[in-house]
Assembly symmetry: C2
Homo-oligomer: 454 residues x 2
């Protein structure tokens, strides 16, 4: 839907003013390594879920400064003419390694590692962070919800609770976290996600009475539809819903409960449905669900969960707190410099990192291994020695986007990969309570380079 638009101005101004100064000082062409990672997981998260890589790659392909963008920058004297010329022909020509969508991540896991000139790498910081901070937050919340749901389908109904474009992306991230469908039609159209939903209270209310509303819905959608039974009285609503579906020649597909004490109501409604012989009629519940509410419904006779606000707002953690940091540059003499900020509480570890997940003899992950190495081959030797699964894939090679990681198949693959990556984690990963990351992050430094000093 936005495929013809540039993403170049979805960017903080300082990326361009830095570029401007670096073009003037000659550092713009220094070969750099930037990493995108989170220093810590939020206290209630035992693992994070990678989502957004496909959207980032699409945004990268459309990261072009068109004439309107350049005119805006020129008119507002944001950068010099030299920089405008650079931006006019901007194309990302570097290489990006990254975690696959659906992969789990932990403290300091390098979700993206960007190998490019300072000029090419710095200007994509904002859009990379925006996309991954949003999508990872939603996917991470979604995964906790699907854990809590123990196989019952979770369905995204959150579009109305977040920015209208964020809702579309949230639906996609939710699928990576294990969700089975979305209410959002644009997400259905753009990403091929199954869409769901039948009616709201307003539909019942605009009819003369509930009887008329249910008849209208069953006439249009067939007896297999889901009827919302709590506009007036739930017991009468259920009786009426089952009867009207049968009069139309079938058993009612499902009832939806959207208010009140869902656990108590689910038991009562299930009992009523069974007493009516409507054993195949399902119960779906909605109404401010989060992973804890879903877990508390685990023993109730509920068939699916519709989740809105808490999904799209990351269940209390609306942004993944990922950062994008320079970790290495190579000077004009060819010397590599590992660099790191010394600021209080914001220290970073310098140098490019290669990431692997050590799998123990029991088949479960035991640590996130970040190898600071000059060459990938050296890191892979260490992974082999320690039994680590390499975590990074080539998302972009010399400016070419890897088509394996964009498009509809990428989403299907991501959902499958998440199940496999989550199943590999030790038991504590599945706990909803606050606590330590499911596995610790350890560094191995086999690089041979001078440290950066002031």
């Amino acid at each position: 839907m936005t495929s013809s638009f540039t993403t170049a101005l979805l960017t903080d101004m300082y990326e361009l003013t830095m570029l401007d100064a670096a073009l003037a000082s000659g550092t713009a062409e220094r070969s750099c390594v930037f990493e995108l990672f989170g220093r810590r997981l939020p206290p209630s998260r035992r693992f994070g879920v990678v989502a957004g890589q496909a959207r980032f790659l699409e945004a990268l392909a459309r990261f072009r400064f068109d004439e309107a963008d350049l005119a805006y920058l020129a008119d507002n004297r944001i950068v010099s003419t030299r920089t405008l010329d650079f931006l006019r022909s901007y194309r990302f020509t570097g290489t990006i390694l990254g975690y696959r969508e659906g992969e789990c991540y932990f403290e300091n896991s390098p979700l993206l590692t960007v190998f490019a000139s300072f000029a090419e790498a710095v200007v994509i910081e904002t859009v990379a962070l925006s996309i991954l901070n949003h999508d990872c937050a939603v996917a991470s919340a979604a995964s906790r919800m699907t854990i809590a749901a123990h196989g019952r389908p979770c369905l995204d109904m959150g579009a109305r609770r977040t920015h209208e474009r964020a809702g579309v992306s949230a639906a996609r991230a939710a699928v990576i976290g294990g969700f089975a469908g979305t209410s959002n039609l644009e997400a259905g159209k753009r990403y091929g996600i199954t869409t769901i939903g039948t009616s709201a209270h307003s539909f019942t209310l605009v009819h003369d009475d509930e009887e008329a509303a249910f008849r209208a819905q069953v006439a249009a959608m067939g007896p297999g539809t889901t009827l919302l039974v709590d506009t007036f009285d739930v017991t009468r609503g259920v009786e009426r819903a089952v009867r009207i579906a049968r009069e139309a020649g079938g058993e009612l597909g499902a009832v939806r409960l959207d208010s009140g004490d869902l656990v108590a109501q689910a038991f009562k409604v299930r009992e009523q449905l069974d007493a009516l012989g409507a054993h195949s009629t399902k119960i779906t519940v909605t109404n401010d669900l989060d992973e804890y509410a879903i877990a508390s419904l685990g023993a109730a006779p509920v068939d699916s969960y519709g989740v809105g606000t808490k999904l799209v707002t990351g269940s209390g953690i609306p942004t993944a707190a990922l950062v994008y940091k320079l970790v290495q540059y190579t000077d004009e003499a060819g010397t590599r410099h590992d660099v790191a900020k010394k600021s209080a509480s914001k220290q970073t570890v310098g140098g490019a990192k290669f990431a692997g997940r050590v799998i123990g003899e029991d088949g479960y992950a035991s640590e996130e291994l970040l190898v600071v190495a000059d060459e990938r081959e050296r890191a892979e030797e260490i992974f082999a020695e320690r039994g680590a699964r390499p975590l990074q894939v080539p998302l972009v090679v010399d400016g070419e986007i890897n088509r394996l990681y964009v498009g509809p198949q990428a989403l299907t693959d991501a959902q499958a990969h998440h199940i496999s990556a989550r199943n590999e984690l030790p038991y504590p990963a599945w706990r909803l309570s606050a606590g330590e990351p499911a596995i610790p992050t350890h560094y191995v430094d086999v690089a041979d380079r001078p440290d950066e000093t002031e």
Copy 2:
């Protein structure tokens, strides 16, 4: 940037399946009133701030089902052929009253009141809620921050912490809440908002040393720039920054502090700057600020605040919890029916409401008055009697969007209106602590119509 795109599929599927069934049952053409409101303010919010009306009106103008949208709906058998025909020619022809952007709102304030057929009104529910839930949440947080800042400029730097498109809208909502600028270039281009920002730690780190980095930035941007002084050692950074600016022929514009104990550092850096004679050099602080952190910096010698995560995520309240409910329909006999859902904890008050804010003799607002009336004139008589300022303006009249409420001037007006509306509130509105809404909401019912019963 997205002006040529339809917004029609930014919609929950059930809006269209309801339409499908209502077209079949004959209720689709019933004249309806829907209201968009929040049942409660969040506990920590003494008032809400209206934002998003202009974006909603723009979305409404682009709410068109194009051939690709219709093909998606047809291919996936989401609605019948009859409904596809209806959607193909869909234009909103109704009338919408609403609160102005920048207005304060309270419990049950009708931010939008939509007068249209069921068919026309129901399908715009999702996009209206998405836009207002997001923008009001951000504007409400922004207003608390600008209250806490006591006139010092607050600047949006949150783009990287939220969805890439939400960041653009958040910058706009922040301006309505009193923010003075944004880091986001697309928001600058699209909405004419002042953009800000100079450099990040990566810029310092890619140079041979801090000296070289500062020289490069001052060479490109002049001594009036803002230098980030906390990459290594703040005291040496400040000394170096002032010296390099002076060597370039001017006094340094500002220093930015982005880590550590900002209160203590601000005092120390101000003292150092003054000792160096750099009295005009300002201090800007960033680093996970929210309204409480800003308030705690009130006594510190800080000149401006850069706010990121907490602004764009609504400072703990990322969505405004607004809902869109049918409150009245007129049947084929011409009888008006006030309608309301009876669900536990989700009761609504039926009937169209006209909203006024009662201003007491001391000049401060004392209550939000919602008059349930058959005609606007009757409500206005009551406003006159009670000294209430009418709160609703005509956003759309018979399908025509009121140009007063879209475009750059609308944003300027909204910011000014918010200051005036906020200044009208009694003192408790300015408290950051949790508590009751600053003014209560009261109803007066002068309508003469039968109540809806099941």
